[in-house]
């Protein structure tokens, strides 16, 4: 456990070094957030009754989404891992007395967290000062806020566990680009990155909420904006835990399979 923590710490402090990139990211996310809210505003003006959440909740959802983007965006995968598999550097990693799945897991987790730590504060602060319905609202209550943090971590775990499946798939397909792109678009759509899940028609939404993708950003963001409460919230958290274990389990299984038939490439 200690060695994986060391990997985690290493990556984490490495991620903190990229401050200029973080600044650029903050600007980008800020603009994206603004545009997104302006778009929802237009729809809100068009028909306020058809809005499934309050406008304030949507604004909070969007700002939180932008602030913690790096935790949940599926396209933020570790390129080193892909290139290690493709060019044969994987051999070095296999020589080490560690489990490759756990190492990669802690590394990816660290990269995402370090990026989020750098980026979230300025965005959240600025969003708090936006005028009423467009800004970030304060958390509804203390328990909800704590639960938001808990689900934020669970959601990140599910996202990383899912990305691990894509890395593992790369062992079998070698060229990663295709699998990766398909996986990313599926995640984006079903996790509520394109439009929040409450905006979907009820029937479709019910199915989407059971899928692992809904356990990623959907749960924490909706808990924060006060859209998800009561028993539905409990169910969502339970589902998150389930998917975290299930995806990790499948990932480990694939890992074991891949280790049996691994070919080291390159020369």
């Amino acid at each position: 456990m200690k060695k994986y923590f060391a990997f985690f710490r290493l990556r984490f402090s490495m991620g903190l070094q990229y401050r200029a990139a973080a600044l650029a990211g903050i600007i980008t996310q800020f603009v994206w957030g603004t545009m997104e809210i302006l778009m929802f505003r237009a729809f809100y003006h068009a028909d306020a009754n058809a809005f499934p959440m309050t406008f304030q909740a949507v604004s909070s959802y969007v700002w939180m989404q932008q602030a913690f983007l790096t935790l949940f965006m599926a396209w933020m995968m570790e390129n080193d891992i892909f290139s290690a598999i493709v060019d044969g550097n994987i051999a070095y990693e296999l020589c080490r007395p560690i489990d490759i799945y756990n190492m990669w897991f802690s590394r990816s987790l660290a990269t995402r967290l370090s990026k989020a730590v750098l980026r979230c504060m300025p965005i959240l602060l600025a969003a708090l000062f936006f005028p009423a319905p467009y800004g970030l609202m304060l958390p509804v209550s203390l328990p909800a806020f704590l639960l938001f943090f808990l689900t934020l971590f669970l959601g990140t775990g599910v996202t990383v566990a899912f990305c691990m499946l894509v890395y593992m798939a790369c062992f079998f397909t070698i060229s990663s680009a295709g699998v990766r792109m398909v996986a990313v678009s599926v995640v984006e759509f079903f996790s509520g990155a394109v439009i929040p899940l409450p905006f979907f028609p009820d029937k479709i939404r019910r199915i989407m909420e059971i899928l692992p993708f809904a356990s990623m950003q959907n749960v924490p963001l909706r808990i924060y904006s006060g859209d998800l409460t009561g028993s539905a919230m409990g169910q969502a958290v339970a589902l998150q835990l389930f998917w975290l274990f299930a995806l990790t389990g499948i990932g480990k299984l694939l890992n074991a399979l891949a280790m049996k038939k691994i070919t080291v490439q390159g020369g």
Binding site: F43, A46, M181, F189, V194
Partner: protein, 257 residues
């Protein structure tokens, strides 16, 4: 032009060596922009109109914007890899060759997997056309053609700016995404829904509205007749982009190992 053809063939052959990966990438590209469409579709399941635009009209707008972007992207995406070229000092190689630098950068990478996205654009474009209630006549078809030309030039110009900035920063700037992928993403709706400020900004600073919103109004019989020419005026945007590029090339200092 002949040289570009040659570059084209080389990239085509090398892509064809990895057929499965190519196919999957195509599907991936297709899915990425399909997501955007689904987003629009489900929003309109709930709302019937936005700022006076119906679903069909938004689709037409989305189809045209996506087409403009895809056209620009399929040949100007070489600029996307430009930070790498500058970083590794490969631009030296380009400079010593007796050919136009822009042409060489364009030829350095041609992404055939964008076919997926172009295909998606064509599907959206055709679909947008068939469901729209536009009464087509010669002027309107001309307007669409102008939009495609203007759009390709404007997006090409933005890619060029992205590359030119690399001369100064040596790395790609993430926030330029706002103007490229962001513009595609938000171009799915007519610019005016984002409010007056954004409309002004995209009329006078970066002419998105000239290639999207105003000609669209004309197509829908809501605009004045000179709107038809606005996309051509938008082409002027390429001039400052080229100037910036020239400035960048002069500023270039070789780096890398």
């Amino acid at each position: 032009m002949k040289l570009y053809g040659k570059y084209f063939m080389i990239h085509f052959k090398s892509t064809m060596e990895y057929k499965t990966s190519f196919l999957l990438s195509c599907i991936g590209q297709f899915l990425v922009s399909f997501n955007v469409f689904l987003g629009v579709y489900f929003m309109f399941q709930r709302f019937s109109k936005v700022e006076g635009f119906t679903y069909n009209e938004v689709l037409l707008c989305f189809g045209i914007t996506l087409m403009e972007f895809s056209l620009a992207e399929s040949f100007a995406r070489g600029f996307d890899m430009f930070p790498n070229i500058v970083n590794k000092g490969e631009f030296d190689r380009i400079m010593v060759r007796p050919r136009n630098e822009i042409l060489q950068v364009l030829g350095s990478r041609i992404e055939f997997s964008r076919i997926g996205r172009i295909l998606q654009a064509v599907v959206m474009f055709v679909y947008g056309f068939t469901v729209s209630d536009v009464h087509w006549n010669v002027q309107k078809i001309a307007a669409v053609l102008f939009m495609l030309i203007g759009g390709t030039v404007v997006f090409g110009g933005i890619f060029l700016i992205y590359a030119s900035i690399c001369f100064f920063t040596l790395e790609g700037l993430e926030f330029m995404n706002i103007f490229t992928d962001g513009a595609r993403e938000y171009g799915k709706y007519p610019v005016c829904i984002y409010g007056k400020r954004i409309l002004q900004l995209s009329t006078f600073v970066i002419p998105y509205a000239l290639i999207q919103y105003y000609p669209l109004l004309y197509l829908l019989d809501r605009g004045k007749s000179y709107y038809i020419l606005l996309p051509l005026i938008a082409c002027l945007f390429i001039i400052p982009c080229l100037l910036l590029w020239k400035l960048g090339v002069r500023h270039y200092k070789s780096c890398g190992s």
